[in-house]
Structure formats: C-alpha cells, structure tokens
Symmetry: C2
Subunit: 275 residues, 2 copies
DNA sequence: CGTCTCTCTTGAACACGTTCAACAACGGGT
DNA sequence: ACCCGTTGTTGAACGTGTTCAAGAGAGACG
C-alpha cells in the first residue's frame, strides 16, 4: 500500500487546465456570491487568464502544497472529522484564513486526495492492462486494483463519502468540478475494453467504458458500506459479478438479442439527455 | 402533488411501537457513549420497559411532537441547512437544549420526515395495488407513487441525503435504526410480487421483494441527483426499466436459464453473508 | 525613493451544532 | 408535610467551519 501511495505522491501536477466558468450556481437556494478564491481547486494554472507558464505567481503554490500535504497527513492520522482547520493551519505554520485563500472549504481539501487515488488507480491498473488480454481478466484486475488503492483509507473514506454524496457538492463524482477526474477514470475502463480480445457489439462498445465506470461507482458505493474485515465482501462481489458482465457482453453480439440491446441503449440515452 | 402531501400530513400517528434495542452501537470507530436520550427516535412507546400503555410519560410526548412539527415545517419553508436549531427552538417556544432532550441531533429530526414519507408511500401505493394485477403495472405504479410522494421535498431531500449517505449514520437506509422503515418499504414490494398475476420462479420470488427495494433505492439515488425539471428523467428511467425487469422476471422460469439464475442468487447470498 | 497594484497572510469575529450543570415540575412513598 | 427519584427544561458555554477587514510583501513604473 505504501508503494502505490508514494507513486501517486510525486505526480502532483494537474492534468489539464480546464477553465471552469465563474458562475457556479448550482440552483441552490443559498446566496452564493463568493469571488471564486484566487488559487481555487479547479482554476489554478494560468493566472490573469494568459496562458503564461512563467513562475510568476508560483510563490503561493508552495504554501498551497504545504497546506494540502499537511491536511492529507492529518486526515490519515486522525481521521477527517477529527482534524480541525485550526489544527491543519497550526501544523502547517500558517493562519487559518490562509487555508481558505487556497481552498474554498474543508471539503475541497479532499479533492486532492481524490486526484491522488485516481492517479494511483491508473498506476496500479497498468500491469494488469499490459499483461492480460481477456476482457474478464482485465476488468477484474482493474476493479481489484481500485480497491487495493483505496483500502488503506476505508475508514475515513466512509466519512468523507458523505460529502461526495451531496449532488450539489463539487466532490460529487458527477459534478462539473470533478469531471477531469471522472474522465480519467473512464479512460481506464476504455483501456479495459479496447485492449481486450473480446468481440463486442460495436454500439455497445462505444458506451461500455462509461457503463463500466458507473458499475465501478456502484462497487465503490458497496465498498464504502462494506463493514466486513478487509472488505472481503466487496472482493467477492467483484469476483462474482465480473463473469456475469463478461457473459452479457459476449451475448451482445447475438442476433436475437440485438433488439433488446438496442432498447437498453436507447433507454440509457434517453435518460442521459434532458430534453 | 398537493393531495399526496395532505394525505401524508394528517397520518401523524406512527405505525407500530417496535421496541428498538437500547444499545445502538453501529460498530463505529468513534467513542459513542451517550445515554440514549430519554425520548429517542426509535425507542418511544413503552417507558420503564414495562408494556404499560397508561399515559404516564405522555407529558413530554407533546413537546416532542411540537418540536418535530416545527422542525419539519421550517425545513420545508427554508430548507434543511438554512434552518438552525435555535430557530426551531425559538419557533416552538422552547429552549434549544430541549430539542436535544428528544432528538440526539439535528439529523435525527429527519428520521421523522423519513417515517412519514414511508407511510405516505404506502398510502399512495394502495390504490395501484388493489387495482392492478399485472406485475409490471404494479411495479410501475408503486415506483411512480414513491416519486409522487417525495417530489415536493426534492430540493431539500438532496441536502439531507448527504446525511443518509454516511454508512455509520442512523439515517442510512441500511442502518439498524432505520430497519423498521426499511422493512415497511420492503413489505410494499412484497405486496407488488405476491399480488401479481405473474408466474415467477419460486426461488426468485422469495428474494424479489428485497431486490426490488434495492432497485428502488437506486431509483431514489438517481432521483436525488436528477436536476431535470420535475425530475422527468427519473420518470423516464422508471418507465424504461420496469418492462426490462418484467421481462427478466418472466424469463426466470425458463429451464435453460435456471443455472444462471441460481448462480446470481448464490452470488447475492454470498455477498450478504459475512463469513 | 515613493507609490500603486497585485498576491498573499493574518487573526479576530460570526453563526452554527452540540453539551452540560443546574434547576423546575411532577408523582409517589413514608 | 416532607423527601426523593424521575422527567422535563433552561441557557450559557464550547468547539467547529467559515468570513472579512486589515495589513504585509513584492515587484513595476515613474
């Protein structure tokens, strides 16, 4: 577990600099008029909107990292709710207000944890994806790798999962703010599909990565609720459900089932759309 | 939608007086040593453990109802997070500490809301269950009824859903504390199955109510995240998925699919067990 | 050197959920 | 009457996440 965590630690640079719109109104009732925090989670990168890469504003980046580092360490040591913002600030040697200059809220500190585990999952899945060619083996390996990566954090993952569950929260896996992480996660499952030797119906193939990611979210949900020692029930769920998915995917090419498949895909499409 | 809400409003009396065990340890990590609050959410009914029905301790029950009533009203009017405990106390004309005498926390006030909507779902499902005999029609009607009942509360349901998501929370649908409500909900789906004209594999029939409830939880999850106007995507989901379930259930009696069904049921069983 | 404009930093202050020691009200038991 | 235990009630106080007006630091320009 230490190896994976370390591997993730030095890949601190962010994927893309997607500029999130300033109007982040999520149709909530509260009056949200905050000025988007200079070094905010999703919007750091190019300051003054110019794509300048010169380290002019790099001074604060150090503080930012320091706060994040300290926070994640304390979360791991004491748990999420037990770690106060004052403790983080004190431990990092800054004022409490300073943390709020870089992070909109305590929850936003979790986004860092989020990103890291995402990267760690990618790393842990790599060997499986190069070794295995069978679809079921690939899927199974990737799912287990995901659990491996998250296992050390199960106890406090359950705590902060609470935050992720709120739809309006930026931590929600479906939110716009975590869309880069989501895309990265889906990319893993795209690899699972495309690198596999399985013959898959082309229409299904297109949608499959996203569906597998959704299934993975389901597994994570189960895992969060899983109180069995070592979360072995989750392991059992994976081992049991992968062959079923494999069989279903294999069946997708049968002529007789074509209409049924079409119907299901159409349903998914009509639900995703919002017209 | 107003009709349903009204129907739910005056059925303020609770279903049964199921005595929950006083030791409400949910195997959490935190040190939970609170003395279980005299008039606690699940343990009202017979005081002093004797099944005495005389209204000896009925004095406080009035205050309890007053606080709950006021709280739910304010939640509806202002939203959950916007409603402070101080506001509830003030509006109810009691001290803030008094609310904590009857309810362990602000979240526990939601349990009352929970119970009510559960009962309202039952009521709203009744006409469908007496009218329809076809399995798909019954299921569809019950699901839509559930959404009908919850619709007026969608905006703040999303907020408090956050609480329910935390596994250790008593509000979690899987927690021991909400097991009466869960059983009541499953009972509805048992009605759906048993009153239907559909021929169902007996082994599946036994597990089906719980599975349908689980599916219902999934629908609710989707509904919470559904931002489409009137949550019509959820409606579409229901209309689309019910025929699929119906077809699958019908297929369950086919001889060829027997082994597959067995396998799935065995998987579910092995996951539920924790050995 | 002075001044202006950014980025960055501070810590007191606020509102909130929750706790707790104290007290009031009631209902027997003697 | 008196006491006593239980039930019910109070409001100040604590610790928390978060905000904000104020200022420090560093460069740019004159």
């Amino acid at each position: 577990m230490a190896g994976v965590t370390t591997a993730a630690a030095d890949s601190a640079d962010e994927p893309g600099t997607d500029v999130a719109p300033a109007t982040a109104d999520v149709a909530s009732a509260a009056a949200d008029e905050r000025p988007a925090t200079r070094g905010g989670t999703g919007s750091r990168g190019g300051p003054t909107e110019g794509g300048d890469e010169r380290p002019r504003r790099a001074r604060g980046e150090q503080t930012r990292q320091l706060i994040l580092e300290t926070a994640l360490r304390l979360f791991r040591e004491r748990g999420y709710t037990e770690t106060t913002m004052r403790a983080i600030a004190k431990e990092a040697g800054v004022a409490v207000g300073n943390a709020y200059y870089y992070f909109d809220s305590k929850e936003h500190l979790i986004q860092g944890f989020y990103d890291r585990n995402q990267a760690a999952h990618r790393v842990a899945a790599e060997p499986v994806l190069t070794r295995e060619k069978d679809f079921a083996a690939r899927l199974r390996g990737v799912l287990h790798a995901g659990i491996d990566v998250n296992e050390p954090y199960h106890s406090f993952a359950a705590t902060f999962f609470k935050s992720a569950a709120e739809p309006s929260s930026p931590l929600s896996p479906f939110s716009r703010e975590s869309s880069p992480a989501r895309e990265a996660a889906i990319a893993i499952f795209r690899d699972v599909v495309e690198g596999s030797s399985a013959k898959i119906d082309p229409e299904l193939r297109k949608e499959l990565p996203e569906l597998l990611w959704l299934g993975w979210m389901g597994v994570v949900l189960f895992w969060v609720y899983d109180r069995s020692p070592g979360q072995r029930r989750t392991r059992r769920l994976i081992d049991g459900i992968v062959p079923l998915i494999d069989r279903l995917v294999g069946l997708s090419r049968l002529r007789v089932l074509r209409p049924a498949l079409r119907q299901i895909l159409a349903l998914i499409d009509s639900i995703q759309r919002d017209d």
